[in-house]
C-alpha cells in the first residue's frame, strides 16, 4: 500500500463529509455476560473508590471489606456460571471483538485468582494481630501512607486511628487486571491488563504499617523494575505488530504459520520478517518472565516479597504468578507454537537456571519471607518445566500446579503474619527457633505448608510436582525432570532446616509470641491447609477440571 493511500485513511475521515464511512463504522459487540467476572470486580472497585470519598471513616473498613468479599464471591460465582454454561469447553470462543478469549484456561485461572485473592483479602482485613493503638484495632497497613515514617503527621494519623482502607479497591483493580491478563487475546489487552494489575501492586507494596522504609524501598524497586520490564514488553509488542501487522494473537499466529500467503511486496522488509518476530517474541517473553520471577528476571522478587506488607506479599506471590503463567501459556501455545523450535531451547535454559538458582540461593537465606521468595522462584522453574512440555497435558498440569501452589503460598504467608515480636512480624529465622514447642499447632500448620512446598507426598505440592514432571517427561523434556528432581532435593534441604528450627531447637527466652488471629486469618490458613491436603490425597476431581480446561481457543 502506498504512502498516499495510507494518508487517505485519515484525510478521508476528516475532510470529505460523506455518510459512507459512517455506515462503514460497525459498532463493537461486547459479550457482557461473559466478561461479567471482570466487570463485577472493576465495578465494585470503582464503588470502593467512591466509598473512600463519601462514606464516613468509621464505616469505611467494614464497607470495603464487605464490598470486596462480595465482589470477589460474585465474580467467582459468575466464573462458575460461565464454566457450567460450557464456555470453558464447547462454547469457548473469542469475545469482545477478539480482545478476550473465553475458554477453559481463562475460566480456570480466573477462578483460581478469585479464590486466592478472596482468602488473601481476609488477611488484608485482619486487625487483631497488631496491638491495638489508642484503643483502635489496626491492620498491617500504614495509618496514612503519605505521612513520613516517624513524623508527627504519622503519629497524628495513628492517634486519629486512620487506616488505609484504599487497599481494598486497589486489590480489586489489581485482581481485575489479573483476570484479564490470562484471558487477553491480543497484545494490547495483554499490556494494558499487565499495567492494570501491576500499578495497584506497586502501591500496595508501599503501605506497610511497620518497617515502612523497607516497604517503600520495595515499592520503588518493584515499580522501577516493573516499568522497565513493561517497556521491554511493549517494545516487543511493537515489533510483533510490525511483523504481523496486527496485535491479535490469531493474526500473528497465522503469519507465523505462514497461512497468510500474499504479502505486499512494499512491506516485505517488515511483514513476516523473522528477525522482528524473534526479537519481539523474546522481548515479550522477558516481560512475562519478569512477572513470573524467572531467573535472570527474578531479582526483584526477594526484596519486594520481604519489604511488602506480608498480606500483600501473599496475594502478590499467589495471584500474580497465576495470572502471569496464564498469559505465558497462552502466548506460547497460541501465538508461538509455530516457532517452538526457536523458543524451546531458550526456555529450557531459563527453566533449568530458575529451578537450580532459586533452590541454591535459598539455602543460605535467613529471613523467612526471602526464603519463601526464593522458593517461589524455584517453583516458577518447576512450572516452566510443565509449560515447556507443549502438550495439552502440559497445560492442564500447569493449571493444576498453579491452583495448588497459590493456596499453599497464601496460607504460608498468612502464618508468617502470626509470628510477631515487639517490632511487628518476626521474620528472621533465628526468631522461629523452638516455635514448635511454644505453639505446636501453628508450627505444625507451617510445617505442612513447607512439606507441600518441598513436594512431599500426600500434600498438594507433590501432586502438582508429579503432574508437571509427568507432563514434561511425556513432552520429551526428561532432562528437565532430572534437573527438577535434583533441585527439589536441594530445596528440601532448606525447608527441612526451617522445620528443624521450629521443632528441634530449644525456644529462645526472648522469642516471638504467636498472636491469636481473628476468624479471618484463621479461615485463610484453614483453607490453605484444607486445599493442601485435599489436593494431596484426592486430587482427581481437580485434575479433571484442569484437563477439561486444558484447551486454548484460537
Amino acid at each position: 500500500m502506498s504512502a498516499t493511500a495510507v494518508h487517505s485513511l485519515w484525510t478521508m475521515a476528516g475532510g470529505v463529509t460523506s455518510a459512507a464511512p459512517v455506515e462503514k463504522f460497525k459498532a463493537p459487540v461486547i459479550e457482557y455476560t461473559q466478561l461479567a467476572p471482570v466487570l463485577i470486580v472493576i465495578g465494585v472497585a470503582v464503588v470502593g473508590v467512591l466509598v473512600e470519598a463519601f462514606v464516613p471513616r468509621r464505616a469505611r473498613y467494614y464497607t470495603q471489606v464487605f464490598l470486596t468479599v462480595v465482589a470477589l464471591a460474585a465474580a467467582f460465582a459468575a466464573v462458575v456460571g460461565l464454566a457450567a454454561g460450557g464456555y470453558g469447553t464447547t462454547k469457548a470462543h473469542i469475545a469482545a471483538m477478539g480482545a478476550i478469549a473465553i475458554d477453559g484456561p481463562t475460566l480456570f485461572l480466573q477462578g483460581t485468582i478469585l479464590l486466592t485473592s478472596m482468602v488473601a483479602v481476609f488477611t488484608f482485613a485482619e486487625r487483631r494481630l497488631d496491638p491495638a493503638s489508642h484503643g483502635k484495632h489496626v491492620d498491617s497497613f500504614a495509618a496514612q501512607a503519605a505521612s513520613v515514617p516517624g513524623s508527627d503527621s504519622e503519629k497524628a494519623a495513628v492517634k486519629a486511628g486512620f487506616t488505609t482502607t484504599e487497599v481494598f479497591p486497589l486489590v480489586l483493580f489489581s485482581v481485575a487486571g489479573m483476570l484479564v491478563f490470562p484471558a487477553a487475546n491480543d497484545l494490547l489487552t495483554l499490556f494494558v491488563a499487565l499495567e492494570v494489575f501491576s500499578l495497584p501492586l506497586y502501591l500496595l507494596c508501599a503501605v506497610a504499617r511497620r518497617k515502612r522504609l523497607m516497604s517503600q524501598e520495595a515499592a520503588v524497586k518493584y515499580f522501577l523494575l516493573g516499568a522497565f520490564s513493561s517497556a521491554f514488553l511493549l517494545f516487543g509488542i511493537a515489533l510483533l505488530y510490525g511483523y504481523a501487522g496486527s496485535v491479535s494473537y490469531a493474526a500473528i499466529a497465522n503469519v507465523v504459520d505462514g497461512s497468510v500467503t500474499q504479502i505486499d511486496p512494499a512491506l516485505a522488509d517488515t511483514m513476516g520478517n523473522d528477525a522482528l518476530l524473534l526479537i519481539g517474541g523474546a522481548m515479550v517473553l522477558t516481560g512475562l518472565l519478569f512477572k513470573v520471577g524467572a531467573v535472570p528476571f527474578h531479582m526483584w522478587t526477594p526484596d519486594v516479597y520481604q519489604g511488602a506488607p506480608t498480606p500483600v506479599t501473599g496475594f502478590m506471590a499467589a495471584a500474580t504468578k497465576v495470572a502471569a503463567f496464564g498469559a505465558l501459556l497462552r502466548l506460547l501455545y497460541v501465538v508461538l507454537p509455530g516457532l517452538a523450535w526457536d523458543w524451546r531451547p531458550v526456555m529450557w535454559a531459563v527453566a533449568i537456571i530458575t529451578m537450580l538458582g532459586g533452590a541454591i540461593v535459598a539455602i543460605t537465606q535467613t529471613d523467612i519471607k526471602r526464603l519463601l521468595a526464593y522458593s517461589s522462584i524455584a517453583h516458577a522453574g518447576f512450572i516452566l518445566a510443565g509449560v515447556i512440555a507443549t502438550t495439552p497435558d502440559g497445560i492442564s498440569s500447569v493449571l493444576f500446579y498453579l491452583g495448588a501452589y497459590s493456596f499453599v503460598t497464601v496460607g504460608a504467608f498468612a502464618v508468617v503474619t502470626l509470628v510477631r515480636d515487639a517490632g511487628g512480624e518476626a521474620t528472621h529465622l533465628s526468631k522461629w527457633a523452638g516455635l514448635g514447642r511454644r505453639s505446636p499447632l501453628v508450627a505444625a500448620v507451617f510445617a505442612v505448608f513447607l512439606l507441600a512446598f518441598a513436594g512431599i507426598p500426600l500434600t498438594s505440592g507433590f501432586s502438582g510436582k508429579f503432574a508437571v514432571f509427568k507432563a514434561a517427561a511425556d513432552g520429551g523434556a526428561g532432562g528437565l525432570v532430572v534437573v527438577g528432581v535434583i533441585s527439589s532435593a536441594i530445596a528440601a534441604f532448606f525447608y527441612i532446616r526451617v522445620i528443624v528450627l521450629m521443632f528441634f531447637s530449644e525456644p529462645k527466652a526472648d522469642g516471638p509470641t504467636v498472636a491469636v488471629p481473628s476468624p479471618l486469618t484463621m479461615t485463610t490458613i484453614a483453607v490453605g491447609v484444607a486445599v493442601t491436603l485435599v489436593l494431596g490425597l484426592a486430587p482427581q476431581y481437580f485434575l479433571d477440571l484442569a484437563s477439561q480446561a486444558g484447551v486454548f481457543v484460537r
Binding site: P440, F462, F466, K470, D474, A489, A492, S505, A509, Q540
Partner: protein, 536 residues
Amino acid sequence: MSFPLLTATAALPAIGAVATAAVPAARRTTAKWLALVFSLATLVLAGIALARFEPGGDRYQLTESHAWIKDFGVRYELGVDGIGVALMALTALLIPFVILAGWHDADPSPSSQQSSSRGGPNETKPYRWRPTQGFFALILMVEAMVILSFEATDVFLFYILFEAMLIPMYFLIGGFGDRAHTGSDENAAAQRSYAAVKFLLYNLVGGLIMLAAVIGLYVVAGTFSLSEIAEARASGSLSMATSTERWLFLGFFFAFAVKAPLWPLHTWLPNAMGEATSPVAVLITAVVDKVGTFAMLRFCLQLFPEASKWATPVIVVLALISIVYGALLAVGQRDIKRLIAYASISHFGFIVLGIFAMTSQGQSGATLYMVNHGISTAALMLVAGFLITRRGSRLIADYGGVQKVAPILAGTFLIGGLATLSLPGLAPFVSEFLVLVGAFSAYPAAGIIATTGIVLAALYVLVLYQRTMTGPVKAEVQGMADLKVRELVVVLPLIALLLFLGVYPKPLTEIVNPAVQHTMSDVQKKDPQPEVEAAK
C-alpha cells in the same frame, strides 16, 4: 465386596495415631495405653490376615482395588503375597513391643521442664508441647504407613508411602533423642537434629531420584498397577528398551539401597540409630528399613527383571562389602547403639545378597532374614536400651560386670547377641544359612566371602558382651536393677519367638516359598542344579 482387611490393618493404627495425638496434655498414661491397645488390635488384624492367607493360592491375595487418581494412572490397589504378609505381620508384631519399651522415653524429662520453667515471659502460659502423645502417635503413624507400603501393589501408592513415612520417622528421631547422650544437652540436641536431617535428606534424595524413575515408568508403561504391568509384559504389549529399563531400575534401586541401607549409602543409619531412643532405633532398622529390601524384591526384580540380572554382579559386590565392612566397623565402635547399627548394615548386606543371588534358597533366606533380623535386632537393641537407660551412657567403656548385678538382663542381652551372630537353634541362623547357600550356589566366591561375616559377627557380639557384662563390676554399675516386669514382657516373647522360628521355621517358609517361586519366574531364573542328583 468383602471386608477390606488390608485397609483396616493399615487404617487402625492411623486412627490410633489421631486418637493418641488428641489426648489432652495432662493425660499421658491414657495416651500410652491407647496407643498400646491400638497396636495390639492391629496385631490381631494382621494375625487374621496371616490366617486368611492361603500359601497355595493366588499370587496376591486379600486384594482391594479402587480408582484413585485416574490422570496419573494410579489406583488404590492392595494385595499381599507371602513376603508382604510376613513382613506386615512382623511390623504389627513389633510395634506393641516398641511402644512398651518406649513407655517412659517420651515423658517430659526433668531437664526440659527446667528449661521450660526457665524460659521467657510466654512460659507463664501452660506448656503446650505434648511430647508423649506425639511420640506414640508418630509410632502408630509409621506403623500404618509401613504396613500399607507392604500391601501396596501399585507403584505410585507405594512410592507415596515410601516417601511419606520419612516425615514421622524424622520427627521421631529428631524430636525424641536418647537421654543417655555424651556431652552437654545443646551438643546432644545438635547431634540429634544432625542425625534426623541426615536421615531425611539421604532418604529424600533417594526418593526423589526414584520419583524420576517412577515418572519414567509411567511414560513407558502408562500404568502403575503391578498386575497390569505384568499382563502387559506377558502379552508383549509392554517392552522396555534395554537402556530405559536399566535407567529406571537404577532409579528405583538407588532409593531402596539408601533405605536398606547398602554400602556406601549407609552412613545415615549409625547416626540415626545412635541418636534416637532405642525403640525408635528398632523402628528404623527392624521395620522401616525392611521396606527398602522388600521393595528390591517386590519392585526391582518384578518390574525390571532384565536390568536386575544385568546389575546383579555389581550389587552382589556391594552387598559383600556391606557385610564385611559393616561387621568390621561394628568391631571398631565405642558406642553400643552405633555398634548394633553397623551390625545391621552387615545384616542388610546379607539380605541384599540373598535377594540378588536369584536362587530360591537365597530369596527365601532373604525374606526370612528380614523377619528374623527384625526380631533379633529388636531383642538386642531393646535390651541394650534398658541397659543404657539404667546407666545413662551409650559408651561400652562405661560398663563392666553387669551380669553379676543384673544376670537376667545380661542373659537376655547374650541371647540377643547370639541371635545376632546367628547361632544355630535361633531364628537368624536359618535365614543366614539359606542366604549363604543360595549365594554360594550362584556365586561360590561370594558365598565364601560372606561366610567370613559369621566370624566377624561372633567377634563384635562377644567383644561387646565381654566388655559390658563380664569382668569385675564397675563402680557405676553397682546396684543396677535387673529387668522389671514391663521389660521382661517386652523381651521374653521376642526371645521365645527367636527360639521357635529357629527350631521350627516351617510355618514361615511355607508362606514365603510360593511368593519366592513367583519372583523367580519373574526374573526367569532357575536354581543351579546340583552336580550329582544324589537326592534320589
